[in-house]
Amino acid sequence: MPASAYHHAFFQAGDGMSTYTPVEDTKTGKKLAGPVGWLDERLGLAALGKKNLRKVFPEHWSFMLGEIALWSFVVLLITGVFLTLWFDPSMAETVYTGSYRPLNGVEMSVAYASALDISFDVRGGLLLRQMHHWAAHLFIAAMMVHMLRVFFTGAYRKPREINWLIGLGLLTLGILAGFSGYSLPDDLLSGTGLRIADGMIKSIPLVGTHISFFLFGGEFPGDQIIPRLYMAHILLIPALLLGLIAAHMLLLVYHKHTQFPGAGRTNENVVGYPMLPVYAAKAGGFFFIVFGVIAFLSATFTVNGIWIYGPYNPAEVTAGSQPDWYMGFAEGALRIFPPLEFNIFGSTWPLSVLIPGLGALGILFTLLGAWPFVERWITGDDREHHLLDRPRNAPTRTALGVAGMTAFGLLWIGGGNDVIALRFGLDLNAITYFLRVMFFLGPIIAFIITRRICISLQRKDHEVLTHGFETGVIDRSPDGGYSERHAPLPVDAQYALTSAKPATVAIEAPELVDANGVDAPNGRKAKLRARLRRWYYAGAFDKPTVEEMQHAEEHLRDAGQHPVDLGEDFQGVSETGVPRVH
């Protein structure tokens, strides 16, 4: 059944094609035949082109979030190349004599002086610097929202687990690139950031001090760290990023993009526009839009005005010292962690630095990396998934995601607790005490509420499917009673709602004891799995059965026998009483 339906749809959709002229007779065919032949005889690209030039990509706004990150990265490369023309990553001392008056005659590093020159004495230099910094902010922000989209729709499931891990690698590298770039201008803020990074490195048990001395070329701050970070920032990290981005995209092409359920969209096909020309044009156009938004931000919003901070000096600091926002959660963890440290055999373990500093990053990325495999183990689901979940249809996953976001957000607040205290007239210490408690309570509350909301939304879907949607049309019965008329959803919408939830995979009940009554070797593991499975599916409210839908159809058909016809296009009435239109 399905195959013929697709073919039918395909030919229906492609009915314009038959009118195209055969390629040999077109202008393009005549013009390009030579060059294409020349290339193909050497590279054999035609086989690849045949498969990929008209590759289909599904369309949805949330599928473009990763693209924002990709295009921001391209803007970073372009602006970064320009910046290297003027930036001098040297920590040698110099006396500033440039245009910025309040720092005139101040001793500073060459790196800071050249960053000031870019800002004030290179025409358009400030714009480039700001575009580079805004693009960096956007790069990481877009990766995060893209990751959230992938998480909440379950797009990381088989066969895409490896691409999820590559994505995590990209996010890690993006943060490292951001931090190394933040440190380069050698202003007071970036130096303070390096000071904190040095403290975090030194907190690594046993070897931390050695690592710090090797990285900084001796004691902090030394005169090595900025040239070394510069190398990492412009060569090592971008090269790794490029490689991983290539892998990420190749896997995307190989797996084909996931799609949301809907009429004609199944786990076996992909519906959308061909890469050439529509998708290429949309993606290419989006590049210019991302570039343009970055340029707009840079024209109207200051980002990291390094001149206000002055040169780095280990004896100076400014109120409101914060890292860039993407490090805010680690900074918040550092701020709210209680004092904890112990000594053992002459080695010191500064846990109040180690756990929130390096631990926060490590824990976050380990949890994210492990989740697809943990979920798969719990559900026992080894099928390929190309249809996306609506977040409500995976309540436990969604609730876990929201709990994680809550913890992240609370740490984020912690990272800016001084600015929040000042701006809103709050007590700094009270915010910290509050966060120490809420870090544990908040995610639990968020989990419970989110899962409840998801299940309620599932029930609502079920309700609409089996009883129709509320039309907003009030019927008055002959005996004077009023009731709201319900109408069945369009079949397309019914299909989209019911095909969204694939059946769960059966797992055999765990054998706790073997035939001889001895504890089974994997008994405990199986028991844990069964318990997690019950927890994972707790409260799930499933799609109606075939019988229920048939029953609903009959019921609604009867109710539809009414003197006033709603009309074929009727879609219900909105809250304001206006008929909805498709």
Partner: protein
């Protein structure tokens, strides 16, 4: 290239300063503040007038002889209901009353800057009375307040003192910062030069003292010059969100950057207007 200096001030900045000045000196007197009274020029009459004002407006907290009222305190809140004012000098009075901090409206973690309750003359009379009780810091001489005559180098030097001694609490541009238990270091924008000087000299509330012996009057003047330069410095790159550091960057990138681009993405992914007509 030193041309920046010629245009570094907003054309409206002068107006703004004037308006602030008018506000501070109040409606009773002319716009230009008279030279502040100093101990040498005050008369017995001034002191007596000041004493009368003190008894009415200040004595309920500071005691009838300005000896202070001590209550039992805790670690965080030492028990001075109103501290002793003996030896705090005219500078303290001029700062506290001249910025509206005194008299306090209510007991609070700290006295905020607010509307000034007393006229310039009354403040100088109270100052004369307090100064007569015991020697203390005097209201600074005009020549240490003339920050407009400073050279670029002197202002930059002031910046070094500012970054070493002041930014930790007041932030790099003097926007202020948070202190423990609901207290804060206030913003320095729009504060008169005289009051900045007096604050350094007397250490009001939680602020430490920076005595003239350690930070000389010339160095204080340079600091004032830098504070002024920073608060009138243009936002070269566009809106700065008050220069509170990277927190506002994060806000902008999520709201405008991600928000705006998601808007564009929604437009791109939207199916667009359709018609029921068929192709001719």
């Amino acid at each position: 290239m030193r041309t920046l200096s010629t245009r570094r001030r907003h054309p409206l900045a002068g107006l703004l300063v004037l308006a602030v000045g008018l506000l501070i000196t109040g409606g009773l007197y002319a716009a230009v503040a008279p030279k502040a009274a100093t101990a040498e020029t005050t008369s017995i009459d001034d002191i007596e007038a000041g004493r009368q004002l003190f008894l009415v407006g200040c004595a309920s907290c500071h005691g009838v002889n300005a000896q202070g009222i001590v209550t039992e305190g805790t670690d965080d809140q030492p028990g001075n209901y109103g501290p002793s004012l003996i030896g705090v000098g005219a500078a303290s009075v001029d700062f506290q009353m001249g910025t509206g901090r005194m008299p306090m409206a209510q007991t609070a973690p700290q006295a905020p800057r607010k509307k000034i309750e007393y006229s310039e003359e009354e403040i100088s009379q109270v100052a004369a009375y307090i100064a007569s009780l015991a020697p203390g810091p005097q209201i600074p001489d005009e020549r240490y307040l003339d920050y407009e005559s400073l050279s670029d180098e002197e202002i930059a030097r002031g910046g070094e003192f500012f970054r070493t001694n002041c930014t930790a609490c007041h932030n790099s541009v003097g926007a202020g910062g948070a202190l423990p238990n609901g207290r804060y270091a206030p913003s320095l924008h729009g504060v008169e030069a005289k009051h900045i000087y007096e604050a350094m000299q007397t250490g009001p509330q939680q602020m430490p003292v920076f005595s003239d012996d350690v930070i000389t009057p010339e160095e204080k003047l340079a600091v004032i010059g830098y504070v002024r330069a920073m608060s009138t410095e243009p936002d070269y790159g566009g809106f700065s969100g008050g220069n509170f550091g990277p927190v506002s960057d994060g806000l902008f990138v999520w709201v405008i950057g991600i928000g705006g681009l998601v808007g564009f993405a929604t437009w791109i992914g939207w199916h667009g207007t359709r018609t029921k007509k068929k192709k001719a």
